[in-house]
């Protein structure tokens, strides 16, 4: 007999138990896990779609902002460029004005310096000339510069025309101040007396005459009477000397400029070789 009834009953029970156990321990847990996973994936997908939509929205907003920004930037750039151009013109004008002012200032300063230098040169030259002449006169003619100057001055007084003498006298008399003889340096008493006598001879014996030494007096001896001046001057000599000196200086400057130009060319050539 191939069928054993006890085995049949036992197997029936076994199979039913197996079905229950597998349901309990296999199908339900596995299906639950799969469902949970599917739900999780669905949730994540939904979340991802939501985030994507949000990102899309943000991207569009950003693009809009970007376009606005680009347009705004172009406008701003144009404005700024125009402002910068105007500012540049203004600043250039300012710089030009300042430069002009500085240039004129510098020019004035240079001119002033030049004048100062010229004055001091003239002074120095005068002193030197006087020194040399004094020494030469003493060595050659056994006479002093002062006495020579006094003689020349007296001779010039004497050589004045009559109408000039009258005019001087009337001018002196109308002035209440004493007559002051300006000299470049202190004259000895003898020469002073000679000059005083010559002047008193012309203006009258009562004429009050003073002497004052002033190194700035280029002329050597100078008398001012109400705007009229009698003087022995070395200004002409000095002017000639200045002219000569200037010529020499100019020549020297020209030759120096030429040398510099040649040096510059030489350097340029050297640079080309480098």
């Amino acid at each position: 007999m191939l069928i054993d009834w006890f085995t049949v009953i036992a197997q029936l029970i076994n199979f039913l138990v197996l079905v229950w156990l597998l349901k309990r321990f296999l199908y339900h847990p596995i299906l639950d896990a799969i469902d949970a996973r599917e739900k999780r994936i669905a949730d994540e997908l939904a979340d991802a779609y939501e985030k994507r939509a949000e990102a899309e929205k943000q991207r569009e907003a950003f693009q809009q902002k970007n376009a606005d920004f680009i347009a705004h930037r172009a406008t701003s750039m144009a404005n700024v460029t125009a402002e910068a151009k105007a500012e540049k013109i203004r600043l250039l004008d300012l710089v030009r004005q300042e430069s002009d002012a500085l240039r004129s200032k510098l020019s004035l300063a240079l001119k002033s310096e030049q004048l100062t230098l010229q004055d001091s040169l003239t002074q120095k030259t005068q002193e030197e000339v006087f020194l040399i002449v004094r020494k030469a006169l003493k060595d050659l003619a056994e006479t002093s510069l002062e006495s020579s100057m006094a003689r020349v001055f007296i001779a010039r007084l004497a050589a004045l025309k009559d109408e000039d003498k009258v005019s001087l006298t009337s001018t002196f008399e109308s002035a209440s101040q004493p007559l002051i003889v300006h000299t470049a340096f202190d004259f000895p008493e003898a020469e002073r007396s000679l000059i005083k006598a010559a002047l008193q001879d012309m203006l009258g014996a009562s004429a009050d005459i003073d002497f004052a030494s002033d190194p700035n007096v280029i002329s050597g001896i100078e008398v001012n009477v109400g705007g009229q001046k009698i003087a022995w001057s070395i200004a002409d000599y000095l002017a000639i000397l200045t002219k000569h000196v200037n010529q020499v200086m100019q020549l020297h400057d020209e030759s120096r400029d030429k040398d510099q130009a040649i040096d510059g060319e030489g350097q340029g050539g050297h640079e080309i070789h480098v």
Binding site: L2, I3, D4, W5, F6, T7, V8, A10, Q11, L12, N14, F15, V17, L18, V19, L21, L22, K23, F25, L26, Y27, P29, I30, L31, D32, A33, I34, A36, R37, R40, I41
Partner: protein, 229 residues
């Protein structure tokens, strides 16, 4: 030589006995339930999971899909019964590669029980789905004359299920046993592999037929489709 593992009795006390069929059935049950418990103890609902969980998921999903493909709309409802049938028969067939293992499905008592279960389950699911009157009326389709034939068909297909499975499993075991006495080396191994294939195919056939019978019983339209088959 024993034709059935029923005849291999380990212990007996009167009507009650412990034969190889029952013992190896318990073994198969133990393997199935224990592995299920061990694997499903730490189930992951994340995308990453253990390979054993993955294997179980593949098995369960495949069975589920097969049930659905045959025509049952709610496979979860039938998964417990049909899945257990497939897994029990398939594991019994797989066990044949272990020397000394007696497949419980090689016993006509076991296959008869499985076929009986199908015989009971088909009307049970049919009545659950359609109601008693409507289910019983399917036996009189297309005419009342067909009633006895339908009943005979029901019984005969149950018998066929039982005998087909028994015959295949028993014959496989028998062939190996005979071949072992004649050509003890390579040939039995080849035949074991062939038997393994036959066993798995039989498990699939038994499972699909049971599904088809249930599908036929749960829907009038599908009954006619199944009859054509």
């Amino acid at each position: 030589m024993n034709l059935s593992p029923d005849q291999l009795i380990y212990w007996q006390m009167g009507f009650i006995k412990l034969n190889a069929t029952i013992v190896f059935t318990w073994l198969v049950m133990l393997v199935l339930v224990l592995s299920s418990i061990l694997i499903t103890r730490k189930l992951s609902t994340h995308l990453q999971r253990s390979r054993w969980q993955n294997l179980l998921e593949v098995v369960v999903i495949t069975i589920n899909q097969q049930i659905e493909e045959v025509g049952l709309n709610q496979p979860h409802k039938y998964l417990g019964f049909l899945g257990s049938l497939f897994l029990f028969i398939a594991l019994s067939a797989l066990g044949t590669i272990i020397p000394g293992f007696e497949p419980p499905t090689g016993s006509l008592s076991t296959t008869a029980v499985l076929a009986l279960c199908v015989l009971v389950a088909v009307p049970m699911f049919g009545i659950q789905d359609q109601g008693l009157a409507r289910y019983l009326s399917t036996y009189t389709k297309p005419t009342i004359i067909m009633l006895p034939f339908n009943i005979i068909s029901e019984i005969s297909r149950t018998l066929a299920l039982a005998v087909r499975l028994f015959g295949n499993m028993m014959s496989g075991a028998m062939i190996i046993a005979i071949l072992l006495t004649i050509t003890p080396f390579l040939f039995p191994i080849v035949m074991t592999l062939l038997g393994l294939l036959t066993g798995i195919v039989q498990a699939y056939i038994f499972f699909v037929l049971a599904t088809v019978y249930i599908a036929a019983a749960t829907s009038t339209q599908k009954t006619s489709a199944a009859s054509v088959n």
